[in-house]
């Protein structure tokens, strides 16, 4: 119980620090408070000065963050400066969309990646190995934004892109892990004793690499969330990735701090969940 409480406290502390880090980076950037309208040559010096004055209304970083935390304690996440809507409402509208995309992407990426990795290791066929390695290699060399654009051009559903981004990482890591486990002395002995492939895989290979595969589970959530930004922007999916891009372009500090905290929280929760499941699995395998 004490361990769980420490874990939750750690997540909360990192979340708040993450929000503060995001706000600090934006606030200290030389272009903070600069508006695109300033590039309008028809504006006078006075107009530009007043524009800057209004954009710099977020004031001192420490004060901003103190007020932000104070409001957060009362359940108020503030109002987006660029979208003129309460941040809580924006998050409530867009978070399910991203969760759905990320969930589908993870399911697709893991199914495809793990299935091909198992097929490669168990079949020991160079054809399967070459095909799956080539596929994963090509996908690994494609930027997430490019993959999203190709899906737009092909009029394919954009949500599937996340699956293709997660797939090569899952495939490569799990293939290496399974291959290493398949060459362990006790697995070779089991094979030599004439155990069937399925039995060897389920009883000997999988338990030896299960804990490390679960660790990849947490990391893949982070990969999918990061990739959701370019994918949602290019495929026009109204999720928090698109919201993050809009907030960044609009230098919307209120929205950025909240998004940073939400994304940090999701990543940390995914990693903690995989740790919690991994420890008993690891102990069982040992």
């Amino acid at each position: 119980m004490r361990r769980l409480a420490t874990h939750i406290a750690r997540i909360l502390a990192i979340m708040l620090l993450g929000g503060f880090l995001g706000a600090t980076l934006v606030r200290l950037s030389p272009g903070f408070g600069v508006d695109e309208q300033e590039l309008d040559s028809s504006l006078s010096h006075e107009s530009i000065a007043s524009l800057r004055q209004s954009n710099a209304s977020d004031g001192h970083l420490g004060a901003f963050y103190f007020h932000y935390l104070n409001r957060l304690l009362h359940g108020d996440l503030g109002t987006s400066r660029t979208l003129q809507q309460p941040v809580r409402q924006l998050l409530a509208e867009r978070f399910p969309e991203t969760l759905e995309s990320v969930g589908l992407g993870l399911a697709l990426g893991w199914t495809l990646g793990l299935a091909l990795a198992i097929a490669t290791v168990m079949s020991r066929s160079w054809c399967v190995d070459l095909f799956s390695s080539l596929l994963a290699g090509i996908l690994l060399c494609l930027p997430a934004a490019m993959m999203a654009l190709l899906f737009v051009i092909a009029r394919a559903p954009g949500r599937l892109v996340l699956g293709l981004i997660v797939f090569p990482k899952v495939f490569r890591y799990s293939r290496n892990l399974l291959e290493r486990s398949a060459n362990l002395p006790h697995v070779l002995t089991a094979r030599a004793k004439g155990l069937g492939s399925l039995r060897v895989f389920l009883w000997h290979i999988l338990p030896a690499s299960g804990a490390q595969l679960l660790a990849l589970g947490g990391v893949s959530v982070s990969i999918a969330f990061a990739a959701a930004i370019p994918v949602e922007v290019l495929c026009d999916l109204p999720g928090i990735g698109q919201l993050a891009w809009k907030a960044a372009l609009g230098r919307d500090m209120e929205l950025l701090v909240n998004l940073t905290m939400v994304i940090t929280m999701v990543t940390l929760l995914a990693n903690s969940a995989s740790d919690l499941i991994r420890n008993p699995v690891h102990a069982g395998a040992a």
């Binding site: 880090l21 934006v26 690994l140 060399c141 490019m146 654009l149 990061a226 930004i229 993050a244």
Partner: protein
């Protein structure tokens, strides 16, 4: 697989050389407009045609590849150095220093890297010159990409501190900075090299992502991001397959890179 590695390295060297000498190889400058021939199809004069502003696509591809191939290793060098210094010092010092540094890396790793980059890159001044935007983009990549490598190096540095070699050095009167500088850091070189080579393709891909979102290198200077962005206006009704050449080159270059550094990748 040895022959595949050799072919990959030869291809990488050939393309890199052609791009380094883009000034001699390219038929025109990357920003020269042929206003009489916008959106032209490939011809003897324009090997890959021209873009909608009449600029030679082949020249832009050479210059863009040069930007990415020169600056991604520079960013990788910066991030590897930062990781080496931070991770190495943390593992060497141990105790609260190590715990603090590891907490900082936890914080960096829990924030998706692309999100952090987009946030910071978007908040930079709007009226910077293309050259400054290139330097800012890759400097950001380098300075924000150290966290994962620092963890690995910290663990290696800690293991080295407990090795017989370092114990002997301590017993011989070496301590503090001298021990770190003469005995720990030189032995971290293989891990640092591996981290460097692994980071290069990651930075090239990240720049391409940023460029496609309009947050990378500013026009008219080309980079892989801005070259791929050109595909946004691609239409299936009037397919122009030569517009995919930058994408194919990117895939082949990165594929060759992965093949060439396979040993380093598997060593981590």
């Amino acid at each position: 697989m040895k022959w595949a590695r050799v072919i990959a390295i030869v291809f990488l060297v050939t393309v890199s050389t052609a791009c380094l000498f883009a000034g001699f190889v390219a038929p025109a400058s990357y920003d020269k407009q042929f206003r009489e021939a916008p959106d032209a199809a490939p011809s003897r004069q324009h090997l890959l045609g021209t873009d909608d502003l009449g600029r030679d696509r082949f020249s832009r591809l050479l210059y863009g590849t040069r930007v990415s191939l020169l600056l991604a290793p520079a960013a990788a060098l910066l991030s590897s150095l930062l990781a080496g210094l931070i991770g190495g010092a943390a593992g060497f010092a141990g105790g609260w220093v190590e715990r603090t540094v590891m907490a900082a890396t936890d914080l960096f790793l829990s924030l998706p890297w692309l999100f952090l980059l987009i946030t910071v890159r978007a908040a930079l001044p709007l009226n910077v010159s293309p050259m400054v935007s290139v330097i800012i983009t890759f400097a950001l990549l380098g300075s924000l990409g150290w966290a994962a490598a620092a963890r690995v190096i910290c663990a290696d540095s800690r293991a080295l501190c407990q090795s017989d070699m370092v114990l002997l050095a301590r017993a011989s009167g070496n301590g503090g900075f001298r021990l770190l500088w003469r005995h720990i850091l030189p032995n971290l070189k293989p891990v640092l090299y591996a981290q460097f080579w692994i980071s290069v393709p990651v930075f090239i891909l990240t720049e391409a992502n940023l460029g496609m979102l309009g947050l990378g290198v500013s026009e008219p200077l080309p980079s892989w991001g801005s070259l791929l962005r050109d595909l946004e206006s691609f239409s299936t009704f009037s397919p122009e397959p030569w517009r995919f050449v930058p994408l194919v080159l990117l895939i082949v270059m990165l594929g060759c890179f992965h093949l060439a550094v396979q040993k380093q990748e598997s060593s981590l």
